[in-house]
Symmetry: C2
Subunit: 705 residues, 2 copies
C-alpha cells in the first residue's frame, strides 16, 4: 500500500480509471485510437498527456494510428494539416491563435473526435479540455465546442523570494529551488506547467514584486532559462520582476533615473541579454514607488516615465511591461483608496503599446470584500490588467475554506456604469468595451512546496478558478466549482450538490466573521493573521486598522462620500449616486463608504450595532454548518483528504470565533452597548485577544530596506 495516495499532489489531473462502467465502456468504444499530427515539443507534451490521461482514464495503453482509420478515433491536429474533407466540417474563422475546436464529426459513416486549432498550443488546451470532459463523464456524441481565451495574458504572480520564503505564502515555501537550478529539474516544474496549461494560464512571474535585482544577473538568468525551457512546450511564458534600482545595484551605475542615457542603455542591454537565452521571455512586472520600493519618483520622474523607458527596452522583442498601480504615499494624507487613481488616470493613453497597468481588484488591498477599483473603466485608452490575490493573505491563510472564484466573480460582474448600465469590470478586463490592444489578468499565487501545492485541499479550487476566469471572465463561479469538484473528487451528485453549496457560501461566511457590513483592513499588523482592530501605533496612518474603521463613540465606518474623503467621486456618476445614498447603498458596503452611528437602523430594523454582532455570529454559524456538511461527505471522499479538511475546518471555527469575539469586544468599548441576544458570549477578554502575538506567522514580508 502506498501512503502517498490521494495526497492531492495530482490536483485536478488525477487520471485514475473511470469508475462508472457504462461511461467507461462508451468512451473505450468511441476512442479506440488516436491520430496525432507530428510536431515539436508541444505535440510531445500532448502525446505524453494523452498516454497518461486517456491511458489512465480508460485504463489501457493508447493506440496511435494513422488518419483516416476505421473511425472511433481521436484526432489531434492543427487545422492546416487536417484532411480536406475534415476541414469542410470545421470553421476556424473565429478562433484566436490560442483557441481550439473539439468537434465530433462523421466521415464515410465513421466517427472522429477532432481537436483542432490554428497553433499547437490550442491543441494542448483542447486536449486538456477533452480530458476534463471525460473526467466529468460528459457525452462525446455530437460534441461541438469552440473556445478562444478572452484575455491575452493569463498570469500567475509568485511573490517568491530568492531564499524561497514567499511573501504572503501559506502553503510551504517557493517551489523554485534556485540552489539546484539550472541542472536539477524538479518534477514539480513540469507538473506546474501541466497544471497551468490545463486551465489556460499562459504566463508566470517567478519572483516577488518586492523585487531583488539579483534575479537579473547572469547567475540567476541561467536558472530562469532552465525553467523557461521546461514551461515553453506548455505555452507558459516567464516574466520577471524588475527592481527599478537594478542598474545601480547590479549594474554599477550611480542612478536609476529613467531619463538618464546610461540607465536607458543598461535596460536595453539587459533586455538583449535576457532574450538571447529566453527568446519568448514575457517581460517585466514592476512594483515601483510603493511601500518602500524604488521607482522613477526617486528621481523626480513619473510612473509614466519609468514605464515607457522599460517598455522601449522590450519593444524589439515584443516583451511587455506590467506596471502595478498599487501605490500610495507616506507623504500623501489623501484617503489611500484614492491615490492609485490620482496617480495613473491623468496619463491615460500615454503609455506605450506594450504596457499594461496592473490594478488590484479593489482600491485598498485584497480584503474579504471590497468594491471594485475605480480605475476599472476610468482609463479607456490604457490596457488595465486585473490583479486578484489567490493566496489568502486576508482570508484565513491556507487554513480557511473560502472559495475565491465567488469573490472574483463578484468583482468581475460589478457594474462600473462607465459606458452605461452593464459596463461590467469583466468587459473592461477582456477589452470588449474598449477594444484594448492588450488584455490581462494576474493572480497572486497560492502555490508552495506543500505536497498538495496549496496547503488547504480546497485552495486548489482557487488556482483552478482563477485560471478559468482568466480564460473567460464571464464564467460563473458555480460552474467552475462544479468542474473542479468533479475533476478533483467525485462525480457523485449528492457530494457535488452539498459541497458546491458549501463552497459557494464560504466566501460570505468569511466576510461575516471577519469584516461584515463593509468593514475592512482590521487585521493584526504585519502578518495579517487574525483580528487587530485596535492597532493604531504604526508609523504610517494608512497601515493602521483604526484608520479604516474609524470607530468612536459616535459610530463606525469610513466616510468616502462628499462629506468625507469623496473617494466615491472616482467612480461613474451612477455608481456614486447609488453607493453614496444610504437608501440605495448595499449593506455589504455600508461602512466602506459611510460613517454611521451605532444606533443607525438597518433594513432589518435592528441597530447597526446589533446588526454587526448578528453578522459576526452568522459567520461563525456558517462555519459550523460547513463542518456539518463535511462530516456527511465522509462516504464520498478518501480518508486522507477528508481528514485534512476536517482538521482545517476545526481551525476555521476556532478562528471565526476569535474574530467575532475580539472585534465585538473592541467595538463595544466605543458603542457601550450590550451584545445582541443572537450572539454567543465571547470566550475570552479583550485584553487576552490584544495580548496574542504571532512572531513566526507565515508569509511575513522580510525587511527590505
Amino acid at each position: 500500500m502506498s501512503f502517498a495516495m490521494s495526497n492531492g499532489y495530482e490536483l485536478w489531473l488525477n487520471y485514475d480509471k473511470i469508475s462508472d462502467d457504462t461511461v467507461l465502456k462508451t468512451y473505450r468504444n468511441q476512442l479506440q485510437s488516436v491520430f496525432m499530427e507530428e510536431g515539436g515539443a508541444t505535440m510531445e507534451a500532448i502525446m505524453m498527456e494523452l498516454e497518461m490521461g486517456l491511458g489512465g482514464l480508460l485504463d489501457r495503453e493508447i493506440r496511435f494510428d494513422s488518419l483516416p482509420s476505421s473511425g472511433n478515433q481521436l484526432v489531434v491536429s492543427k487545422y492546416g494539416s487536417l484532411p480536406k474533407d475534415f476541414k469542410e466540417d470545421i470553421n476556424i474563422d473565429y478562433l484566436n491563435s490560442e483557441g481550439y475546436i473539439i468537434k465530433h464529426i462523421k466521415k464515410s459513416g465513421r466517427g472522429y473526435l477532432v481537436i483542432t486549432g490554428k497553433e499547437d498550443i490550442g491543441l494542448l488546451y483542447g486536449t486538456f479540455h477533452l480530458l476534463r470532459i471525460l473526467k466529468m463523464h460528459q457525452t462525446l456524441e455530437g460534441l461541438n465546442l469552440e473556445e478562444s481565451p478572452k484575455v491575452d495574458i493569463r498570469m500567475l504572480n509568485h511573490w517568491d523570494n530568492l531564499d524561497r520564503t514567499i511573501e504572503r505564502g501559506y502553503s510551504g515555501f517557493s517551489i523554485w529551488n534556485w540552489q539546484t537550478l539550472p541542472d536539477y529539474i524538479d518534477q514539480r516544474y513540469i507538473d506546474y506547467a501541466r497544471a497551468n496549461a490545463s486551465i489556460g494560464i499562459n504566463a508566470t512571474a517567478l519572483t516577488n514584486v518586492n523585487a531583488n535585482a539579483l534575479i537579473l544577473t547572469p547567475q540567476y538568468l541561467e536558472k530562469v532559462q532552465a525553467l523557461a525551457e521546461v514551461f515553453r512546450p506548455y505555452g507558459l511564458k516567464v516574466y520577471l520582476t524588475a527592481r527599478f534600482s537594478a542598474p545601480m545595484e547590479i549594474g554599477g551605475l550611480e542612478t536609476a533615473d529613467p531619463l538618464d542615457q546610461e540607465v536607458i542603455q543598461w535596460w536595453k542591454n539587459k533586455a538583449a541579454e535576457i532574450y538571447k537565452s529566453i527568446p519568448d521571455f514575457g517581460g517585466f512586472l514592476v512594483k515601483a514607488n510603493s511601500e518602500g520600493q524604488p521607482g522613477p519618483q526617486n528621481y523626480g520622474r513619473t510612473h509614466l516615465d519609468g514605464t515607457n523607458m522599460l517598455a522601449d527596452a522590450l519593444t524589439p522583442y515584443k516583451g511587455n511591461v506590467i506596471w502595478r498601480a498599487f501605490v500610495y504615499s507616506e507623504h500623501d494624507a489623501e484617503d489611500r483608496a484614492k491615490q492609485a487613481y490620482s496617480e495613473f488616470v491623468p496619463d491615460d493613453g500615454k503609455y506605450r503599446d506594450n504596457v499594461l497597468i496592473q490594478v488590484k481588484n479593489g482600491p485598498i488591498d485584497f480584503q474579504p470584500r471590497e468594491p471594485f477599483h475605480p480605475m476599472f473603466g476610468a482609463m479607456p485608452n490604457t490596457p488595465l490588467m486585473m490583479e486578484f490575490q489567490i493566496t489568502k493573505e486576508y482570508l484565513g491563510f491556507a487554513t480557511h475554506l473560502v472559495y475565491l472564484p465567488k469573490l472574483f466573480e463578484e468583482v468581475l460582474q460589478s457594474d462600473t456604469y462607465q459606458k452605461g448600465k452593464g459596463s461590467t469590470v469583466a468587459k473592461m478586463v477582456d477589452g470588449s468595451l474598449n477594444t484594448k490592444k492588450l488584455t490581462g489578468m494576474a493572480g497572486v499565487s497560492n502555490i508552495g512546496t506543500d505536497t498538495n501545492w496549496t496547503g488547504h485541499p480546497f485552495g486548489q479550487a482557487d488556482w483552478y478558478g482563477f485560471g478559468r476566469l482568466a480564460w473567460d471572465p464571464s464564467m460563473n463561479s458555480e460552474a467552475i466549482a462544479d468542474e473542479w469538484l468533479r475533476t478533483t473528487f467525485s462525480n457523485d451528485e449528492e457530494f457535488i450538490k452539498s459541497v458546491k453549496k458549501m463552497m459557494l457560501e464560504s466566501r460570505e461566511a468569511v466576510v461575516n466573521y471577519m469584516n461584515p457590513l463593509g468593514l475592512h483592513h482590521i487585521f493584526d499588523t504585519s502578518h495579517h493573521y487574525g483580528p487587530g482592530p485596535w492597532v493604531g501605533n504604526l508609523s504610517r496612518p494608512e497601515w493602521n486598522p483604526v484608520y479604516y474603521h474609524k470607530a468612536d463613540e459616535d459610530g463606525i465606518g469610513f466616510d468616502r462620500t462628499k462629506t468625507g474623503s469623496n473617494a466615491l467621486s472616482q467612480y461613474a456618476p451612477a455608481f456614486e449616486e447609488k453607493f453614496g445614498n444610504l437608501e440605495t447603498c448595499p449593506e455589504e458596503y455600508l461602512l466602506w463608504f459611510h460613517h454611521l452611528p451605532w444606533d443607525y437602523q438597518l433594513k432589518s430594523g435592528r441597530t447597526l450595532w446589533d446588526g454587526l454582532g448578528i453578522k459576526y455570529q452568522q459567520g461563525v454559524d456558517q462555519v459550523k454548518q460547513m463542518i456539518n456538511t463535511w462530516e456527511n461527505m465522509k462516504p464520498y471522499v478518501d480518508e486522507y483528504r477528508h481528514n485534512q479538511v476536517r482538521m482545517l475546518l476545526g481551525i476555521q471555527l476556532k478562528e471565526a470565533k476569535w474574530w467575532r469575539d475580539a472585534c465585538m469586544l473592541y467595538f463595544q468599548t466605543f458603542s457601550k452597548m450590550d451584545f445582541p441576544k443572537e450572539m454567543e458570549s465571547p470566550e475570552n477578554t479583550l485584553e487576552y485577544y490584544k495580548s496574542l502575538k504571532f512572531p513566526y506567522a507565515p508569509g511575513i514580508r522580510p525587511q527590505w530596506d
Copy 2:
C-alpha cells in the same frame, strides 16, 4: 497513471507487492494469518503497519486469528502474554526493555513465527524488522533473531527554527508546521514517526540548538504536545532545546544565573509545566556559551553549574539534560580543536546521573574527514553522547551522493587506545568499556519538506544508516547499504553489487575532491557552499579557512604535535605516538596534525604538492565513475529516481571540479609549483572562483544576536 509514483516519499517503507513469485508464494504460505495481543496505541500502530506492510507485500488482506491456530501464523505478543508452551521455546533473559526476539517455532507440528519482547515497543521494532526481512526476500524457516539496542538514546537533532527555516538544511524547510499545530496533524508527522521507529530511533529534539526561548511558552508547548502524542505510540520521545536565557526572555527574570534561586525555581516550574502535558518528555538539549549562545559563563559559572541545575529540574520526571560540548571561545587563542576537551574533561564524574555530554564526532566541525574527538575515552565517568551530522553541511549539501554511514563507521571503529588496543569509539559510545549508566547517539537531521524527505534520494540512506548505527554502533556500513538498497530500490544482485560499491566509495571521493590529506574547514564563509580556502577576513580567527590550512611559501597543514598546538596530547599516548610520528601517521590525517613543506615526500614517492593535485583529480574521476555506474543502472531503477540521481550527479561533478580547480589554484600561489601531470587544467581563473557569491545558498544560520 499517478505521477506521484516512486517519488521517494515512502522511504525504505515501500510496501509494493513482492516481485519474486517464488518468494511471494512461500511467504503467503508461511504467513497465513496473524495473531496479535490486544493492547494500546503501540499495538494499534503495529496492526496498522502489518495491514499496510504485510498486506501490501503479500498483496492480500491480512487475516487476524486467535492462538493457537492451524499454524503458519505470525504471532505478535509480549513474552508475558504468550502461551506457556510458546514461552518454553524462547529465552528473553538477555533482552532489554526495547529488545525483541523473532523466532520460528513449531508447536504440535505447526509453524509459528513469533515476534516477542518485554514491552510493546519491542514488538513494534520486531515488526519492522520482519517487514525488512520480507522486503529483502530472506528466509523465514528457522529464523531465530535476538535484538536489543546497544545505545539508550537514539536521537535526531533537528536544527529547525520556528519560522521553518533549517540551519544547515538542504531538503526544503522544516516539516514542523507550527502555524497549523496543534489542530492540524500533517500525515508527515505520522510517517516521520513510522520511519524512525522502523530503524529504532527513539528520541527527537524538534528545535535548533541555536535556540529560541519561545518554544518553551504555553503557545508552543501545546503544539509540541500534539507532536508528542503522534510520536508516543512509536516510542519516539520529544526533546526541546532550552535557551539558557529563557528565564529572562520569557520568564521576566533579570538573570539566568544558574545559581540564582529564582532561576532554579523558574526551571523547576517550567519542567513541571511541560511534564503535565507531556508525561514522557525526554528533556532538554542545550548549546550554551558557544557561538554567541548564552550560558552559565555569562554569570561567571561553569558548564557544570548550568548542566546540573537543569538536570535537577528534570530529575523528578526522569528527564535528561543533553549538554553539547561544542564550545570554543572568541577570547581563547588556543587551537579550537582543543577547547572542548579543556572545558569538560576536568569535571568528569561531577555531572548528575541524568546528564549526557554530547560530543561531535571530531574536534572541529563535521568535516569530510576528522580524527575522532579526543573527549571520547577521556571522560570515563560521564556519559558521552556521539553527535553525527546527517545533513551534509560540509559534504556537498543535498546535491552530492556521499554515503555517510561509511564516515560514521570510520569514527566508531577508530581506536582511542584509552583502555588499551581495541578501545574503539563505538565501545565508548555504547558504554561497554565504561559501564555507563546512560548512553546516546545523536544525528543532526537531514529531513525537510522535500517530497522524498532528504532532497537527494541517497540522502535517505544516511538517515537510515544513522538509525541502524545508533541501534548497534558495531554494525558495518556495507551491511547497512545492502539493507537500504534492497528495501528502497531493488533486490536485483547486479544492481546491489554496483550501487553498493558506488556508495561505499563515495565518501572517499568527497574527501578527495574537497579536503584531501587531512585538510579541513576550507569552505566558503557562512553558507559553507563550495571552496573558500582564501577567506581570512572573518572577525574570529578560528572562523577563517586560512587558520586551518596555514598554507604559506614553506608548506601547508596544522601542526598539532608538540612543536605546534599539541592537540595530540589530548589523545591516549599510543594514539599520540602514532599520529605524531610522520612515519606512522596515516596520510589521510597528514595535514590535520602536521605542517609540511610542499616538496615533502609522500609514501608514493611524489611530493606533497603533486600528491594534493593527484588526490583532487582522483576525487573528480571518482565522480565520473559514479556517473558511469549510475547510467548502467537504468534498467533497475524507476525513471523518476534515476533521473533525479542522474541530474544530481551532474551537479556533483561540476562542483568536484570547482573544488579541485579553486583549491589547487589558490595553493599554487604559495607552492609556486606546476600542477602534477595527472591533473586536468583548471577551467577558470582563481579570480573567477574568488568572485563567486551565493547570498541565498540554503541553510545559512540566521542572525542571532
